[in-house]
């Protein structure tokens, strides 16, 4: 796999980059061989995104050199990077939502001036061929708006394949993918490697790096702290390199026996959300993990419990009382809290101060009579920030100025302020760095110990297995199985895929 004899495909030496006073990169060395999958690992803010921006020509380094196959590249810009065969699959696909897949691929791949005629049959045939090569199951005529996030990422990958890129950068490509889609992606990456393409693979999931990468480079605080052959390094070693300290336990152990039943579902369904016949019980002091493929109905169940898509079948019992939440305010009043999936879009309001974000769900309680009480607001905010150890300048800092993990904590704190009985977490650690992730896990465990019933939706299988007291597996809009915690991953996957194990 490693072709140490020839010059590396890409070499970065002594790269430095500052944004104003922020020293994003302070001397990074990195090299990529042809036919190699090289993982780039680091906590959020370690400098991975900056490094990608330099390689794709979006930004220029302040110091250091980039060399492509022995040729130095001063003053690289995005067009030149593309011409040299550098392609990037971004975490958030940058596609034109109103255009079809074929049109999007055509826009990226087709050369020519403003007056050239579009060869529609050729454009569509090419798109269809690329989609088939990566195993996509949607037609090229589909409008991008109708595609899910993972499907949009597949379109991005198709574009990278289409340009015949020598270097493909993948920025957390699996953050929203299910296990099956991941396997599909692994196949694509291995195919690229076999064809001699250099792949820079960025991920927070260590298991992925071990499954896929040949070498791994760890970034910490803008410095590359080491490059290792994946075969010669262990998971704890990598974590230690990333965080610069020993993370003793990745998942905090369950400490308390579950108490009384908090939530009981009897054949709950919602036709509009495509969910039916969900029956289960969630107890106080329990973390009930919800596993399953994207689209299996996990988020739909959460949204139904939170009153966003009210149930039209079955019974929901909270503390033995029948409830029927029809809107979020009703659900909040009943003691149900929902920390949504996409925190940047829905979890917190980036343009609002942290304090305003924190109190947004508790206005009726915190401000009886509708008059805002800034003293009470600030006090609650300070208490929450301290309680969850949010790293932030203060209650008046804007939500958008916080790092991903801290935004997630603020989103969580908002709902804890409602003093819920049932807490529903939807992908609580998606796109969060390892340090913040284990902190969030400890918080979740502590909340359960304090008697909260927690439903945790997660596509991160190790997380579900490590955190849950019991695991509900959803498939095709219903709860297919309830498994004990610490189940075998194969059993969970089998249930999610509908195979009898």
């Amino acid at each position: 796999m490693r072709q140490t004899t020839s010059a590396p495909l890409l070499r970065l030496e002594g790269i430095k980059k500052n944004y104003g006073a922020v020293r994003a990169l302070q001397g990074v060395d990195f090299e990529l061989q042809a036919g190699e999958v090289h993982a780039l690992l680091g906590e959020n803010g370690a400098g991975k995104s900056t490094l990608i921006n330099l390689i794709t020509g979006a930004r220029r380094p302040d110091a250091g050199t980039l060399t492509l196959a022995g040729r130095p590249l001063p003053g690289l810009d995005p067009a030149a990077a593309r011409a040299l065969g550098i392609a990037c699959v971004h975490q958030q696909p940058a596609l034109f939502a109103e255009l079809s897949v074929a049109e999007n691929i055509g826009l990226r791949l087709e050369a020519g001036g403003a007056w050239r005629r579009v060869d529609w049959p050729r454009r569509e045939a090419r798109a269809a061929e690329l989609l088939q090569r990566i195993g996509a199951e949607f037609p090229a005529s589909r409008t991008v708006r109708e595609l899910s996030m993972p499907e949009q990422q597949l379109v991005e990958i198709a574009c990278a394949l289409g340009v015949g890129a020598r270097i493909v950068i993948m920025d957390e490509p699996t953050s929203s993918l299910t296990r099956r889609e991941q396997e599909q992606l692994y196949g694509i990456v291995r195919g690229l490697r076999a064809a001699g393409t250099g792949v820079i693979y960025i991920s927070h999931r260590l298991e992925e790096i071990f499954a896929l990468a040949d070498r791994v480079t760890v970034l910490r605080d803008g410095v590359s702290v080491g490059t290792h052959a994946v075969a010669a390094v262990t998971e704890p070693e990598l974590i230690r390199l990333m965080v610069g300290r020993e993370v003793s336990q990745l998942y905090p152990p369950a400490e308390s026996a579950p108490g009384a039943a908090v939530l009981e579902l009897r054949g709950v369904g919602c036709r509009a959300a495509g969910m039916h016949g969900v029956s289960c019980t969630v107890h106080a002091g329990e973390v009930f993990g919800l596993a399953g493929l994207v689209g299996a109905g996990r988020t739909e169940l959460a949204r139904t419990l939170f009153g966003l898509t009210p149930a039209d079948a079955g019974e929901i019992l909270l503390h033995g009382r029948r409830i029927h939440p029809r809107s979020p305010p009703e659900a909040v009043a009943l003691g149900i809290a929902y920390v949504p999936e996409d925190r940047r879009r829905h979890g917190i309001v980036l343009e609002m101060p942290v304090a305003h974000n924190l109190t947004m769900a508790v206005h009726p309680r915190l401000f009886p009579g509708a008059w805002l009480r800034f003293g009470a607001e600030q006090a609650l905010a300070r208490e929450s920030l301290r309680d969850l150890a949010v790293k932030c300048p203060g209650p008046d800092a804007l939500g958008g100025s916080l790092s991903g993990g801290n935004q997630q904590k603020v989103s969580l704190a908002r709902w804890l302020a409602t003093r819920p009985k049932l807490l529903i977490l939807d992908e609580p650690t998606q796109g969060v760095d390892v340090g913040a992730k284990s902190e969030i896990h400890r918080i979740i465990r502590r909340l359960a110990r304090d008697g909260l019933a927690v439903i945790m939706i997660s596509s991160d299988l190790p997380e579900v297995l490590g955190m849950s007291d019991r695991i509900g597996v959803m498939r095709g809009g219903t709860l297919a199985a309830v498994l004990p915690g610490k189940s075998d991953p194969h059993t969970v996957m089998a249930a999610a895929l509908g195979q009898s194990s």
Binding site: L308, P328, M352, P364, L372, R414, T418
Partner: protein, 312 residues
Amino acid sequence: MNRYFREISVTAALGLVLLAMAVFAPGFFQPQPLLSLVTREAPTLVVACGMALVIISRQIDISVGSQFSVCSICAGVLAARGWPLAVVGPAAAALGALLGAFNGVLVAGLRLPSIVVTLATMVMLRQGLNLVQQGAFVNLPDRVQWFGLSQAAGQWTLVGAALVLLVIFGLAMRQLATGRWVYAVGTDDEAARLAGIRPQLVTFLVFVLMGLLAGVAATMNIVQSPQVQPAVGSGLELKVIAAVVVGGVAISGGRGNVWGAFAGLLLLACVSPALTHLHVEAYWEKTIQGAIILLAVVADGLRQRKRGEGQA
């Protein structure tokens, strides 16, 4: 940068203009013309308060001019029939609220884009009024003018009423949970919904309030002249939107306040008399007002870009 940079800069610009007038044309500060100027703008200020709320909630209402006309004519007709002002005022406000509720149902209830909905209601109300009124003026009884008070007392009453409403809205937007909701909905209505706020209800109420204020402003307008023309209030929507935008309310929603809108309105309103006193041709008025609006938008754009870079 300071969160209130835009409000502060507009106020500073207004201060500079007033200072320049004090130096170069002290005649500008004669009390009687100045009071008349401010009185004329009092109804506009009331409408601008409503418009600030509408734009903060990431909507727009371009039918306010027509709402204002309809309320003015109806109030005039009622007053001409001998109804006391104490009844005519609330009736006009209620009519305005009803017109606003119509917009609100369409925008919040059916989730239609407000620019199209209010464009339609703007045209419908204006044409409906022309159809009924056929361009005829409504003559008002003498007791209506200045509430039957002396002119000075009437003017002070109007200015005072507008300022009281301004203070009420200024405080409410900051001190009431409802005000916070308007900002939240304007910034991200889905995030607001997931936080247990009812974005549709908030949007609906904002439109009702807008209509109500248009009705109040109509009453404040008819007491200033002996008759009401049907063309009254045409172009008002552009005037208040301009004032609100100049005052630092972001057209993209979620940012700004009524104080800024107040400063923006005064800044735009004093262009015309300032030119007169400086003996500049009146043709410059619209050009300068346009330049001020452009400057405000450019300032917002630069600010946004600066923030975008800071996040990269």
